[in-house]
C-alpha cells in the first residue's frame, strides 16, 4: 500500500471574468455570417451580378418576410416550444386582410389581419399553457385549421389588394432612403435582441426553456412567458404576411406554405436548440438570410430547379458542420 502525503501551498483561486466577449457570445452567428459571405463570393465568381446593389436589394426584399417570421419562431423555440402554425397564419392574414379590403375597409383592414395573429397566437398559447398539450400537437392543429381557413375565406380564390397605397407598408420609406421592409427587419432585430439579452422578461424566456420546473420555483411566470411567446410568434407571422401582400398586392391561400419549415430551419441554423434555452435574434436573422442567399444563388447560377433542393440541403449541411466543427475545436459541448 502506497502512502503519500504531499503538502503544498493553497492555490490562489483565479480571478473570475465578468465581461462576456462579443466574439464568444456570438460565435455561432459569426460562423454563419462567414458562411454567408463565402456563399455570396462563390456565387459572385459565377455570376458577377450577384455582388451588385440590385441583388442585395433583391435578397433583403425576398428575405424580409422569412426574417420576421423567424424572429417570432425564435421566441417560441427559446422557451422550449415549437410553432408549426406560422406559415398558415401568414397565409390566412393575407387572405383576411385582402377580403376585408375588398369589402370596403381601408388600411385599417391590416389591423384585422393582425387580429388573425392575435387569435391564433392566443389559441396556441392557451392550449399549451392552460390545457397543457404538447406544442408540436397544438401548433400542428392550428397549422391545419388556419391553413384550411385561408382557403375558406375567399373560397379558394386569390385576392388582389384594392387599395393602391397599401404597397407603401412594404416599400415606402418611413426613414428617407431606407425602404420599410429593411427598416422593419432592423428594428425588430434590435428590439428583440435587446429584449432577450437585456430585459428581465427576456431572460425569463431562456430560463423557461432551460427548465420550466426550475423557472417556476424561482418565481418566474412560466405560463405567462410561454403564452406571450406564442402570441408574439403568431403576430410576427401575421405582420410578415401583411408585408408580403403589401409587396405583391395580392393574397394567396398557399402563400406561406413553404415558410414554416424554412423559419424553423433558420432559427436552428442560427444556433438555437429545439430543446429550448438557447438562441439569439441575430442568429435567427442570419439563418433566414442564409436560406435566402442560397435560394438567390441557386437561381442566379441557373441551377436546374430539380437540383435546388439538393443544393440548398447541402449548403445548410456545410453551414451547420462549420458551426459544429468550430464548437468542438474550442472544447465546448
Amino acid at each position: 500500500m502506497t502512502k503519500t502525503i504531499i503538502d503544498q501551498a493553497g492555490a490562489t483561486p483565479g480571478a473570475i471574468r465578468t465581461r462576456e466577449g462579443l466574439v464568444s457570445a456570438y460565435r455561432t452567428e459569426l460562423a454563419i455570417a462567414g458562411a454567408i459571405v463565402l456563399l455570396v463570393l462563390a456565387v459572385g465568381t459565377q455570376v458577377p451580378q450577384a455582388m451588385s446593389w440590385g441583388n442585395f436589394a433583391n435578397i433583403t426584399q425576398a428575405g424580409a418576410p422569412l426574417i420576421i417570421m423567424s424572429l417570432g419562431v425564435l421566441l417560441v423555440v427559446i422557451t422550449g416550444g415549437i410553432d408549426l402554425s406560422v406559415g398558415s397564419v401568414f397565409s390566412l392574414t393575407g387572405m383576411v386582410t385582402a377580403q376585408a379590403m375588398a369589402s370596403g375597409l381601408d388600411v385599417s383592414a391590416a389591423l384585422i389581419g393582425l387580429g388573425v395573429g392575435l387569435v391564433f397566437g392566443s389559441i396556441n398559447g392557451f392550449l399549451v399553457t392552460v390545457a397543457g398539450l404538447a406544442p408540436f400537437v397544438v401548433t400542428l392543429i392550428t397549422f391545419a385549421v388556419a391553413g384550411s381557413l385561408a382557403f375558406i375565406v375567399t373560397n379558394g380564390r386569390s385576392m388582389p389588394i384594392g387599395d393602391p397605397d397599401f404597397w407603401l407598408l412594404n416599400s415606402g420609406s418611413l426613414i428617407p432612403g431606407v425602404p420599410n421592409y429593411i427598416l422593419f427587419c432592423i428594428v425588430l432585430l434590435v428590439v428583440i435582441e435587446i429584449f432577450l439579452k437585456k430585459m428581465v422578461a427576456g431572460r425569463w424566456f431562456y430560463a423557461v426553456g432551460s427548465s420550466a420546473a426550475a423557472a417556476r420555483l424561482l418565481g418566474i411566470p412560466v405560463k405567462r412567458t410561454q403564452f406571450f411567446a406564442y402570441v408574439a410568434s403568431s403576430l410576427l407571422a401575421s405582420f410578415s404576411g401583411l408585408l408580403t401582400i403589401s409587396y405583391i398586392l395580392n393574397a394567396e391561400s398557399t402563400a406561406g406554405s413553404s415558410l414554416m419549415l424554412q423559419a424553423i430551419a433558420a432559427v436552428v441554423i442560427g444556433g438555437a436548440s429545439l430543446l429550448g434555452g438557447t438562441g439569439t435574434a441575430v442568429g435567427a436573422v442570419l439563418g433566414a438570410l442564409m436560406i435566402t442567399v442560397i435560394q438567390n444563388g441557386v437561381n442566379l447560377i441557373g441551377i436546374n430547379s430539380f437540383w435546388q433542393g439538393s443544393v440548398t440541403g447541402l449548403a445548410i449541411l456545410i453551414a451547420v458542420l462549420i458551426d459544429r466543427f468550430s464548437k468542438s475545436r474550442r472544447g465546448a459541448v
Binding site: 502512502k3 426550475a214 424561482l218 438557447t278 474550442r330
Partner: protein, 497 residues
C-alpha cells in the same frame, strides 16, 4: 511497500483538461481489494472528474490507468471497466422507465436478449430491499420520473449494488439519504467488502460518515494528490481539512448571536396543521428533521409549489395559501430546492443568469443591468465559487459549486422567509461553515429561516428550534434549542442517528 497486485485499480500521473481548464494535474490514486476508500477534497478539487476517468465516461489526457484481476494480472481498460459500477454525483435517472427496469436494464449487456420483466423485478427487489424494504415492496412498477430525489438516489445505489461489480464508486451517495438509509447502506457496504472482496470508493463531505465507513483515504486538492492511501484513523479532522486547503475553516460552534434587527417586519409566522402549530419569530432558524415525506409537504405549502391543503401558513399580509411559487417569491418567501439538477440549475444559462434569477423575478426591475455583474461577482466571492467566467455554463462547475450558485440566488435578498432544502448538499467542509455564518447573518436582519437537513449535526449546529417528523410523515414535535440533542432527534424522528 507497494503491493500493486492487490489493487483493483490504480492511476498514476493522471491529467485531464476541459478546454483551457486543467482539472487533473497529475493524480495518483489506487484502490486495494476489499477496502472502503474515501476520496476527499474541496469543491472543484477533481474528485468527480477522477471518477469519470476511471469509469471511462471522460477520456484521460495523460497518465496511466491500470485495472487488475484477482490474480494481479493487468486487464485491458475495457475489461477492467466491466468490473466497475458507479453512482454519479448527478444522478443518471431514466424518468420514463420503471424502477425495476432502471435497476435491471443496464445489467443486460446484449440487446438481442429478451428483456425478462420478472427476473428484472426480482433483481431490483433484492437490491432495493437491502437499503429499504418498504420502498422495495412498493416502488418496482413506479416510474422513475415520479420518484423524489432521495428515492432516485436509492434506485441508483441499488443498481450499483446489484451490478455484480468488483469496484463500486460512490460519488456523494449519502447526500440525498436520510440517516437511517445511510446507516443501512453502510451495513451493506461493510458486508460486501468483507464477504465478497468488493472494493468501494466513497466520496463525501460529511466527516462523521467518513470516519464511520472508510478504512483509508486519499485527498486531492486542485487536481493533485496531496494525501494518498492513509488510514483514516491516522488523520485528525483538522489535518484533513488542512490538507484539503481549507485551514481557515474554523469549527464555529453555535454561539449567541445578536438579536434580529427585524427591520423588515415584526410579524411572526405561524405554521399549523390540525392539532399542531409552531410559530416562527422573525430571525429564527427553524430546522426540519425526519424522513422526507413530512418535510416535503410542509415545504410545498410554505412556497406554494403544490395545492397543499394539510398545512396553513399564517402571517399578516400574506394570503392563507400561496397559489404559486411566484406569489410566494414576490411576497418575500424564498426557496432553495434540494433537487439541484432537475429543479434548480438552469443548465443552458450562464452562471450570472443562474445566480441573479430570483433577484430578477422578485425585484420587478425591467432591465438586466451592468451593475448586476458586480453584484454577482460579490456573491460568488462570498461563497468562494471557483469559476473562470460569469458567462460559463453551470455544467463546467463541480457539483458542490453548482450548489453554491443556488444558495447565492437568495443570499442577501431581503426576504421574510427563506426555505432551504439541504442547502449545503455537496458543499465542502470549509465552505459549509461560511454558509452557516452567511445564513445566520441573514437571520439577523429579520429573515425567518426554515432549514431542512438530513444531517443531524448540521441541525444541531445552526438551528434555534427543530420541527421533527416521524417516518410516517406526521409532525412529532418541536425541540427548542436548549433541549436539542442527537438522541432527542432520533427519538422524535424514529430514525437512529
Amino acid at each position: 511497500m507497494t503491493d500493486a497486485s492487490k489493487d483493483i485499480v490504480s492511476v498514476r500521473s493522471l491529467t485531464k483538461s476541459y478546454g483551457a481548464t486543467v482539472v487533473l494535474k497529475g493524480v495518483d490514486f489506487s484502490v486495494a481489494r476489499g477496502e472502503i476508500h474515501a476520496l476527499l477534497g474541496g469543491n472543484g478539487a477533481g474528485k468527480s472528474t477522477l471518477i469519470r476517468v476511471i469509469t471511462g465516461t471522460a477520456a484521460k489526457d495523460g497518465g496511466e490507468l491500470v485495472f487488475r484481476d484477482m490474480a494481479g494480472n493487468i486487464l485491458t481498460e475495457a475489461d477492467g471497466r466491466r468490473k466497475v459500477a458507479v453512482v454519479h454525483q448527478e444522478l443518471a435517472l431514466l424518468p420514463h422507465l420503471t424502477v425495476a427496469e432502471s435497476i435491471a436494464l443496464p445489467h443486460f449487456r446484449k440487446g438481442s436478449r429478451v428483456y425478462d420483466g420478472r427476473t428484472a423485478g426480482s433483481q431490483a427487489y433484492a437490491a432495493l430491499s437491502m437499503i429499504d424494504r418498504d420502498f422495495a415492496g412498493t416502488a418496482l412498477n413506479r416510474l422513475v420520473g415520479d420518484l423524489s430525489l432521495h428515492e432516485g438516489q436509492m434506485v441508483e445505489i441499488a443498481r450499483a449494488l446489484s451490478s455484480g461489480a468488483e469496484l463500486i464508486l460512490l460519488d456523494e451517495p449519502t447526500a440525498n439519504l436520510t440517516a437511517a438509509e445511510t446507516e443501512r447502506l453502510f451495513g451493506v457496504l461493510r458486508k460486501l467488502t468483507r464477504g465478497n472482496g468488493l472494493s468501494v470508493v466513497f466520496v463525501s463531505h460529511r466527516m462523521k460518515e467518513i470516519r464511520q465507513i472508510a478504512h483509508v483515504c486519499s485527498i486531492i486538492r486542485d487536481g493533485r494528490t496531496v494525501v494518498g492511501n492513509v488510514p483514516t484513523a491516522e488523520l485528525s479532522d483538522l489535518a484533513i481539512i488542512e490538507h484539503m486547503g481549507q485551514a481557515q475553516a474554523t469549527a464555529v460552534a453555535h454561539s449567541a448571536r445578536p438579536a434580529p434587527v427585524a427591520s423588515l417586519s415584526d410579524e411572526p409566522l405561524t405554521i399549523a396543521e390540525t392539532g399542531f402549530s409552531v410559530t416562527l419569530q422573525p430571525g429564527t432558524i427553524l430546522g426540519v428533521a425526519g424522513a422526507p415525506a413530512g418535510p416535503e409537504t410542509l415545504i410545498a405549502a410554505l412556497i406554494g409549489a403544490a395545492h397543499e391543503r394539510r398545512w396553513t401558513v399564517t402571517r399578516a399580509g400574506w394570503p392563507d395559501r400561496f397559489r404559486s411559487p411566484r406569489e410566494a417569491a414576490r411576497l418575500g418567501a424564498g426557496f432553495v430546492t434540494g433537487d439541484r439538477s432537475h429543479r434548480g440549475i438552469l443548465h443552458s444559462l450562464p452562471i450570472i443568469d443562474n445566480v441573479l434569477a430570483s433577484r430578477r423575478a422578485t425585484r420587478g426591475s425591467l432591465f438586466a443591468t451592468k451593475r448586476e455583474e458586480v453584484e454577482c461577482l460579490d456573491l460568488m466571492q462570498a461563497l468562494k465559487v471557483k469559476a473562470g467566467s460569469l458567462w460559463h455554463l453551470p455544467n463546467t462547475l463541480s457539483g458542490g459549486t453548482q450548489q453554491k450558485l443556488l444558495l447565492a440566488r437568495w443570499l442577501n435578498v431581503p426576504s421574510r422567509l427563506l426555505v432551504l432544502e439541504e442547502p449545503t448538499r455537496g458543499v465542502d467542509i470549509g465552505t459549509k461553515r461560511e454558509i452557516y455564518q452567511l445564513i445566520r447573518d441573514m437571520a439577523t436582519t429579520g429573515t425567518a429561516i426554515v432549514w431542512w437537513s438530513t444531517e443531524n449535526a448540521e441541525l444541531l449546529e445552526i438551528c434555534d428550534q427543530v420541527l421533527a417528523f416521524d417516518t410516517e410523515g406526521r409532525s412529532s414535535g418541536v425541540i427548542e434549542r436548549d433541549e436539542l440533542s442527537e438522541d432527542k432527534l432520533a427519538t422524535l424522528t424514529g430514525m437512529a442517528a
